[in-house]
Amino acid sequence: MKGLLDPLGPVAASQQQHLLVVVVLTLVAVLPVLVGVPLIYWRYRRRNAAAYRPDWGFSPLVELMMWGVPLAIVVVLSWLLWQDTHRYAPEKPLGPTPLEIEVVGLNWKWLFLYPGERIASLGDLVIPAGQPVTLKLTSDTVMQSFMVPSLAGQLYAMPGMVTRLNLVASAPGTAVGRNMQYNGSGFSGQQFRVRILSEADYRRWSERAANSPVRLDKSTYNKLAASGSLAEATAIFSGEAGHRRPFPVPVEDANLFGKIVGRYHTGTPIAPEQQPGASAYTPVDDRL
């Protein structure tokens, strides 16, 4: 996945742009070292008998340059940093009515809930092109880091909390996303597909859920939440026919996301058997 190097939206494009600007500006301070050091080592090698000033240890002009140039660069960089950090802050929506998608990090796959359509997708984030999207991230296991490099970079997803990552894709295409924070033996494979569809294709995709024989309810969610690969979790929804791509599926409870976040705020302890991602976890049908 050539994420940052191949941006598919304005956020990642601006991050790429910022990277290049910082590299160029920093080179002003760095190049004199990379060029000057070999020259000094060569010219003032002992055998060369070049100029020798053993007691020279201070020069106001040199001091001014040494402190002044880095300071000036840092002032410019700080200004840019402040502007850029605010322009595309992850929590800032990129339009008036963003499409809201709820993201649940699990061991070792990502669940995407579309509250507007009441559908769910696993390991396959589908978004319409040109439409600002707000991803509400949480985790139902340990902390994870949700990342789609070609769209927006990463943000932590933490149990019992919601972080917001806003992004928009410029044109239809595909990308790869993944978890960047180590969360156990399945970490390396915890990737997902990102598909950016046209408005019409997106609508067609979301309507496919109506034909799905299985749905996401308490029972399937609790099974899904057990540690395992995306393929293993997908099998839960594949049904008798063994569909490889059974998603999207309808969601029974419109407030599933709220319940996943809220389970950590009930004031009662969560035993390891009830904690998704824990090695002792055993799925029980009616939890949540």
């Binding site: 991050q15 080592y41 003032y44 240890g57 020069s59 040494m66 940093l81 902390m143 990463q154 149990p159």
Partner: protein, 673 residues
């Protein structure tokens, strides 16, 4: 704790999976490593017995309060652990190079490797190195006889050794944690990591952390209180300045990590909920506390390396250090600023744009004093007479590579860029790029520079140079490609991957890791060959490099009292120190017992440790007087040697003619001033 008398320790925790089923390459490597530790330990015991070294080891080393010997033991721990750390690193790089679709190491084994590698390199290689150097050199540089608290110094060493021992024991008995060197909860909480692994991490870090804290206190008091008359602050050598700043940082930065680790222990042992998912726990507090230590920690490590570079650039350019005042101000600025930037380790936690931007700007500010220091060393070399000795090769590598690491650090200070490369191999490349060319090159340069002072003979210059170039090449091939991989989105800590675009970069990186392995072998050989030829390399007079600071005014190796002319004697008390050596045993047993839930052993060793400290602390101080005649005799011997020695020019610096007396330096054809 409802387990048996040995807690939860059982037979299947020993490195014998071959006999307990599921053997594979990954398990074989783990078992082999465990058995290697056992064989090496038995071999060491055997050699000590054959050569009848037990008594000298105990009397002259383990119970010594001599700062120089304690320093040497610290550095020995650092070198030993470096060997393990490098081997683990090479194993990981080779595995990753071969891991398209799955490497030869199991994901769990790989996770243990990156966890121990990080923990070892930070806490048990870099820290012992810098603490060891400060011990060896600072008292000599400030004209003191010893540290302010020699016995506490020894307890610090015992704690560090106990922590290192726990890490080594984890190779043989049971498993280490898989949560990385930062051990972020909730992954490291009981629900997700129920085994003994995280406990090994906790107790190794807590015990050695207490040792480091005591070292910090000891060093700062020593530098504040024990400077020789006339050694004002603005006359202190730069290495001592950096040691002072580092000590202050240690005093303020170690407590947060000790506290956060103990809070994690409370979660795991006592059913607390500081960082759990439920009942109000929050892992964000852990991240805050950990990095409140973690960021100053990188400056704790790098500042003494800066000190080394200051010393060697002046010495080997035969010039006064440029911009002493600037360097002091820059060092202090870095020390203060290092406490204001910790949040940049988790820009991605969702705290909002303004908080991120503020910490981003603070982070960039550190680049200013750091840049000043680099320019100062360049100015020191400018119009000097540079001798390309081994330390200068390391300095060259530092200049060319560390600058790149500094540049990527400025990149990472930008939250917008950090969102893209955080947790990726770009980050791994960055911190290796500052830690290897910065800390490690600084320490190895220091080893070559001060070795003749501490041991009385120089290290072989040819093998030293080969080692240095191997390190520089190995680092460049192993880590610079990781920048590209990080920009392509490859995460850190991945035991496998499937993007074919990664292949060429990972293969170069794996080859670089092998070069680093060669560098490690060459480093060991440098020591072996130098010890073999120590007669020819001896510099008893004490000043092989035409040095500029006070430590070169003593014999090599310096006597226990360091300076004969300060008319007082050193405080020492062998009786106390045997107790302090017992602290190592008690601390190791305590850590081990806590890891395995062996209640009675934990209680006994904790009691022993506490009682020991109380006894130590409540006894009257007793001084052992070294007779003035002994001092005079040794001093006269040295003076005779000095008078008989032939001064050498810098051209003969790395020849056998160099006995440690510098002649006024001239170039051939130049008349002597």
């Amino acid at each position: 704790m409802n387990e048996g008398p040995l807690g939860r320790l059982g037979l299947d925790d020993l490195p014998l999976t071959v006999f307990f089923g599921h053997p594979g390459l990954s398990e074989a490597i783990a078992d082999g490593a465990g058995l290697l530790v056992i064989v090496a330990a038995l071999g060491a015991l055997l050699l000590l017995s054959i050569y009848r070294l037990w008594r000298p080891l105990w009397c002259e080393w383990l119970t010594s309060v001599d700062h120089r010997k304690i320093g040497i033991m610290y550095i020995a721990i650092g070198l030993l652990m470096l060997v393990r750390g490098v081997i683990e690193g090479v194993l990981m790089r080779i595995n990753q190079a071969a891991a398209q679709g799955g490497g030869f190491l199991s994901p769990d084994h790989f996770a243990q490797l990156f966890s121990t590698h990080g923990t070892i390199m930070i806490f048990f290689v870099a820290m012992p190195f810098i603490v060891g150097f400060i011990n060896c050199i600072v008292p000599l540089q400030i004209g003191a006889r010893d540290m302010a608290f020699p016995v506490m110094n020894q307890i610090s060493l015992a704690m560090t050794a106990a922590g290192a021992s726990l890490i080594m024991i984890s190779l043989v008995i049971g498993q280490f944690g898989t949560g990385g060197w930062t051990a972020y909860p909730p992954y490291t909480e009981l629900a997700f990591s129920p085994g003994e692994g995280v406990d090994y991490w906790i107790w190794a870090v807590v015990i050695s952390g207490l040792g480091s804290l005591m070292s910090g206190i000891n060093f700062s008091v020593t530098i504040y209180k024990l400077r020789a008359p006339g050694m004002t602050f603005m006359r202190m050598p730069m290495f001592t300045w950096t040691a002072l700043c580092t000590s202050i940082l240690i005093v303020f930065a170690m407590p947060p990590v000790t506290v956060s680790s103990l809070m994690l222990a409370a979660d795991r042992y006592l059913d607390f909920h500081f960082f759990t998912n439920d009942l109000g726990g929050n892992m964000m507090n852990y991240a805050n506390l950990f990095w409140m230590f973690g960021h100053p920690e990188v400056y704790i490590l790098i500042l003494p390396a800066y000190g080394v570079f200051s010393e060697i650039s002046a010495t080997f350019a035969a010039k006064t250090l440029y911009g002493y005042r600037s360097l002091v101000i820059a060092t202090m600025s870095i020390a203060v600023l290092s406490f204001t930037v910790w949040l940049h380790h988790f820009f991605t936690m969702g705290q909002g744009a303004s908080v991120n931007a503020a910490f981003g700007v603070a982070t960039m500010l550190i680049a200013i004093p750091t840049g000043v220091k680099v320019y100062d060393w360049m100015a020191t070399l400018w119009r000097g007479r540079i001798r390309m000795r081994v330390p200068m090769i390391y300095l060259f590598g530092f200049f060319m590579l560390f600058t790149i690491g500094g540049m990527t650090g400025v990149l990472l200070a930008n939250p917008t860029i950090d969102f893209q490369v955080h947790n990726s191999l770009f980050l791994v490349a960055h911190f290796h790029n500052v830690l290897i060319p910065g800390v490690l090159f600084g320490m190895l340069a220091g080893v070559h520079y001060w070795f003749p002072k501490v041991f009385g003979f120089r290290l072989d210059a040819r093998w030293g140079a080969r080692t240095a170039w191997l390190w520089i090449a190995g680092f460049s091939f192993a880590f610079l490609p990781l920048y590209a991989l990080g920009l392509m989105g490859m995460p850190r800590r991945a035991s496998m991957w499937d993007d074919p675009a990664f292949v060429p970069w990972l293969i170069v990186s794996g080859a670089g890791a092998l070069v680093i392995l060669l560098a490690l072998v060459a480093l060991c050989w440098t020591f072996v060959t130098s010890i073999r030829h120590r007669e020819a390399l001896a510099v008893p007079v004490g000043d092989p490099w035409d040095g500029r600071t006070l430590e070169w005014a003593t014999p090599s190796p310096p006597p226990e009292w360091n300076f004969a002319i300060i008319p007082s004697v050193s405080a020492r008390d062998p009786f106390y120190t045997e107790k302090a050596a017992g602290a190592f045993v008690a601390a190791t047993f305590f850590g081990f017992a806590m890891v395995w839930h062996i209640g009675w052993l934990a209680a006994v060793s904790a009691l022993g440790l506490v009682a020991g400290v109380i006894v130590l602390g409540s006894r009257e101080t007793r001084h052992t007087v070294i007779p003035a005649s002994d001092v005079a005799r040794a001093e006269n011997e040295w003076l005779r040697e000095l008078n008989g020695a032939q001064g050498v020019t810098r051209d003969e610096e790395i020849t056998a003619a160099n006995r440690g007396l510098a002649a006024p330096d001239t170039l051939p054809g130049e008349s002597r001033a």
